[in-house]
Each structure stands twice: as structure tokens, then as C-alpha cells.
């Protein structure tokens, strides 16, 4: 599963992209966040305040309960500040 990080999530985690294989129990975006938090202090810091984190699955915005499948592209980022 391809995981992308943008803005300060990328800064805290230290990489913008990683290829990971979560355990089979990880079936939703929320479960993925809980699992990612355990990977490193940087991951834990990035996801410390989940209220400030947004997600996209396969390049479309997705909620915490969005189901995940092998091969999905999942991205995490702060609220957008474009335009």
C-alpha cells in the first residue's frame, strides 16, 4: 500500500511517500492511522492530533471509516490552504 504525506505531516514523518504492508486487521483509514502511529515517534507526532489531519484514498477525499484494499494509494495531509 502506497502512503503519501504532505505539508507538516511529511516534515514530521521525514518522508513524503512510503510503501507499507499493514496487517490484515487494518481495514479502514482510521485503523490505518492507529497502526501508522506505532511505527515511529515521527509518525506518532504527525498523527497526534487527528482532528487536524485529512485523508484521501485513490486521490479522492475519504473519511476515517473509508475501507482500504491492497494496492490503494492513501494520502494524509492538513486542511488545505490553496488559492
Amino acid at each position: 500500500m502506497k502512503i503519501l504525506y504532505f505539508a507538516w505531516l511529511r516534515s514530521r514523518i521525514g518522508v513524503g511517500e512510503e510503501e507499507l504492508s499493514p496487517p490484515p486487521a487494518v481495514g479502514t483509514v482510521g485503523q490505518l492511522v492507529d497502526w501508522l502511529k506505532t511505527l515511529s515517534p515521527g509518525h506518532a507526532a504527525a498523527f497526534a492530533e487527528t482532528a487536524l489531519v485529512r485523508a484521501a484514498v485513490n486521490q479522492d477525499y475519504a473519511g476515517l471509516d473509508h475501507p482500504l484494499h491492497p494496492g490503494d494509494e492513501v494520502a494524509f495531509f492538513p486542511p488545505v490552504t490553496g488559492g
Binding site: L4, F6, A7, W8, S11, V29, T50, A51, L52, V53, R54, A55, A56, Q59, D60, Y61, A62, G63, L64, A75, F77, P78, P79, V80, T81, G82, G83
Partner: protein, 151 residues
């Protein structure tokens, strides 16, 4: 329908002309140009990061939505990324239609969406280093609602 997410500057006059060119049925072109404002004294520049791929797809989806809502003859969206300084052009939305009310409504709809929902993030250069801009509607951001959006 034209969507460009690019580092380079753009030419609003050329884009407006292209929207009307060779289409004698087009009577109205409404457009919007967003500029980088010098809002804070300690900010000399900013770097705009985006999510390549998702940005283009979501903008295209919103263009389709605009075409469903209004009778449009042409839509052009350009959004820059990379390093920008105050006064730089950052975003262009142009909409051509027979009807000026439709052109205005679709143009405002698209720029509102780009400003609040397109996957861009601003890193300000300050005298103290880089600083990520927080979303303006901080109450919204802190409400903990993860984005669910079906354009």
C-alpha cells in the same frame, strides 16, 4: 475544458481570448485572477505544495460538476505551485457562456472550491524559517470532520 497545474506563470489575457476564440455563440467570459498578497510583514515568499495527480483529478471533477449546473461553453482553470512572492499570480479561473449569470456563478463556484478544497498547502518563508499556513476556518479544521466529498 482546460486544467493546468503548473509552476510557470500564465497570461490571463491569452486565456480569456482563447475562451472566446472561434466561438461566435459565446457572449460572456467571466474570469478570476488570484494574486499572492503581502499580508504579513515577516513573510517574504511562500512555497505552494500540492498533491500531483489528485489536484488535477479533483479540479476536473469540479469542472464537470459546474458544467452539470450551468450551461457553459468553455472552462479554463490554472493553479500554480512552487515558490511565489507577493504580487505573483497564483490562480486563474475563466468561464465562457452565452449567459453572463451562468459564467459568473460557475466562475465563483470553481474559485471557492479551489480556495477551500483543492489539495494545496502554503509554506511561508519568514525571518524565523518556514511556517505552514493553517486553514482559515480553524473551527472547521478543529471540528475533526475528515473530508468526505463526492463532487
Amino acid at each position: 475544458m482546460t486544467v493546468h497545474v503548473q509552476r510557470e506563470d500564465f497570461d490571463p489575457g491569452a486565456e480569456i481570448a482563447a475562451l472566446g476564440a472561434g466561438r461566435p455563440d459565446v457572449g460572456a467570459v467571466a474570469s478570476f485572477v488570484g494574486l499572492v498578497r503581502a499580508e504579513k510583514d515577516d513573510v517574504s515568499a511562500m512555497t505552494l505544495e500540492h498533491y500531483p495527480g489528485m489536484t488535477e483529478r479533483r479540479i476536473a471533477a469540479m469542472e464537470e460538476e459546474a458544467r452539470r449546473r450551468w450551461p457553459l461553453d468553455g472552462v479554463t482553470v490554472i493553479h500554480r505551485y512552487g515558490r511565489l512572492v507577493p504580487g505573483d499570480r497564483i490562480v486563474f479561473v475563466g468561464v465562457a457562456s452565452r449567459h453572463r449569470a451562468a459564467a459568473f456563478a460557475a466562475c465563483e463556484f470553481l474559485i471557492d472550491w479551489l480556495k477551500t478544497r483543492a489539495p494545496f498547502w502554503k509554506l511561508e518563508e519568514t525571518t524565523a524559517g518556514g511556517r505552514w499556513v493553517e486553514a482559515k476556518d480553524i473551527d472547521d479544521a478543529r471540528a475533526g470532520r475528515w473530508e468526505i466529498e463526492k463532487p
